[in-house]
Amino acid sequence: MKKHIADFVIAEKKTIGSSYFTLLLKSPEALPEILPGQFVEVEVPDNKEVFLRRPISIHDVDYAANTITLLVQVVGKGTRTLSQLAEGRTLNLVYPLGNGFAIDGQKPLLVGGGAGIAPLLYTAKKYSEKGIRPAILLGGRTAELIPVKEEFRPYGEMFFATEDGSLGEKGLVTQHPAFGQSYDSILTCGPTPMMKAVARHALQNGIRCQVSLENTMACGVGACLCCVTKTDHGHRCVCKDGPVFDVKDMTEWAES
């Protein structure tokens, strides 16, 4: 897939709770095909302390409107600066990057935690286009830390798990009754301990499972080799060989 560098305009910015926001970015040109699970590298303006671009998951795509939505959690100076930009500002993106999720299985489960929920909305929509309704299990420490909920409802059956019990079942996503049901494909993105627990469950039960990793990056295109993860076949770039990895290649990672 051809990668592009292009200026987008912030058409809309929405704040979600105390730590999340969405940016609706409009391209002046037609969007190329974007796969669910791919990401963009965003140039962060206005802050001299931010040197590198920031890799951010693609939350949603609207080809008719030529827009991409990013769902971002404020975690550091880069994301904080992005959260402070006004609508109408131009943002430079390198995109679409990475391999994306394979949309497979007849009875899939999507498991998202916190900011890791971001790539799963566009993923759920892709399943919907194939006439498949996945089970969607979203988790967070509190209800507020699950940034997007109702947007998923048209595309699958929803389940929630929160550590404080403020939404859905009290506990971790892997303790939710829906997690133990029978699935033929699991796609997950979220905190590393959560993804490792999901991956171990999938490996033990022989279920195909894809995990989407988030390492700090520089180039985003597989040139600098800074963002590597350990796999069963050695170091691989999260930006180019991932961010989505099949857990059958990640057995050591899952157990670590």
Binding site: K2, K3, H4, I5, E43, K48, E49, V50, F51, L52, R53, V94, N215, T216, M217, A218, C219, G220, V221, G222, A223, C224, L225, C226, C227, V228, T229, K230, G234, H235, K240
Partner: protein, 299 residues
């Protein structure tokens, strides 16, 4: 006219890409026409496969970044058999950066690259700060630097560029030593040894504790060292360190560099290299200079 020569190597313009920042060129083919570059210096290549250092390998710093990749690469045999056939017909100079832990490893790798028709030059990396054995160790002592260059010179017959580390007291002394040992050119600077601490976690950011600093933060040091080395040697000097614009490149050229390399800036703007090429031509036009040589080493 932007064309320059590095010994026997003809460059259509003085803009090269720095090893380790541009992959094998292919990673950037969607963004730019690679044939517009003076050359591509591909990822550091060693005698055998290397996994590199553990993650995290990168830390963002003011106007720059630290890296500790540690020469991850598939080894010279995989390069010759798999990578070379894919990239050898790109219409520019493909130069291989050669690294190692021993003189034998440098020589074996250089000899294998020497046999590849469409690789006109190597860049001998005696300056990597991120490997435990060898690497920068060869580049910090004039005698050891001369020894490794002298041995490689015996087995490598095309243009031999030697990449120098800034982590020394007198880089001109190292440059003179490798010139005497048979280097056709020197490139400088490799990264500066640095360190960053995560104060919340109370530990170093990098898995290796220290790493190599690159980006605009190092540029003034690099310009100074290029100027010192250009005064000290007769062979052509290739300048790098924080170049992100044509003006940055011009600083190096005026300070004595015959060509330049663009590194970390590729991560911020994957089209920066061709912007620098265009910017150099604009500068010549604006100042009514016919030949880039009229400004090389003018200071």
């Amino acid at each position: 006219m932007l064309d320059v020569k590095i010994h026997n190597l003809s460059l259509k313009n003085p803009v090269l890409t720095a090893s380790g920042t541009f992959g094998y060129g292919e990673e950037f083919a969607d963004f730019i026409d690679l044939s517009r570059l003076g050359g591509i210096i591909v990822k550091g290549t060693t005698g055998s496969h290397r996994e590199g250092n553990a993650y995290p390998r990168m830390a963002e710093t003011p106007s720059g970044m630290l890296n500790a990749v540690g020469l991850q690469n598939a080894g010279v045999d995989v390069f010759c058999q798999k990578t070379y056939p894919r990239i050898c017909d790109i219409d520019t100079n493909i130069i291989v950066n050669v690294s190692g832990s021993s003189i034998e490893e440098y020589c074996e790798t250089a000899a294998k690259i020497d046999a590849l028709d469409k690789i006109p030059a190597i860049e001998l990396n005696i300056s990597c700060p991120n490997v435990k054995k060898g690497g920068m160790g060869f580049g910090t002592d004039p005698k050891m630097a001369a020894q490794v260059v002298g041995e490689v010179r015996k087995v490598y017959h095309k243009t031999l560029i030697v990449k120098l580390t800034p982590n020394v007291t007198s880089i001109a002394d190292i440059a003179k030593a490798v010139e005497e040992a048979g280097a056709d050119s020197v490139s400088l600077i490799n990264t500066m040894l640095g360190m960053a601490v995560d104060v919340e976690r109370r530990r170093p950011v990098l898995s290796t504790i220290t790493g190599g600093l690159s980006g605009p933060a190092v540029k003034p040091v690099a310009v100074r060292m290029v100027w010192q080395v250009a005064k000290a040697v007769k062979i052509p000097v290739i300048g790098l360190g924080g170049i992100a614009s044509a003006n940055d490149a011009l600083e190096f050229l005026m300070a004595g560099a015959t060509a330049v390399q663009i590194g970390t800036a590729n991560f911020l703007d994957p089209t920066v290299t061709v912007k620098v090429v265009d910017g150099l031509q604009d500068y010549l036009n604006r100042h009514n200079i016919k030949d880039i040589h009229d400004i090389i080493g003018m200071i």
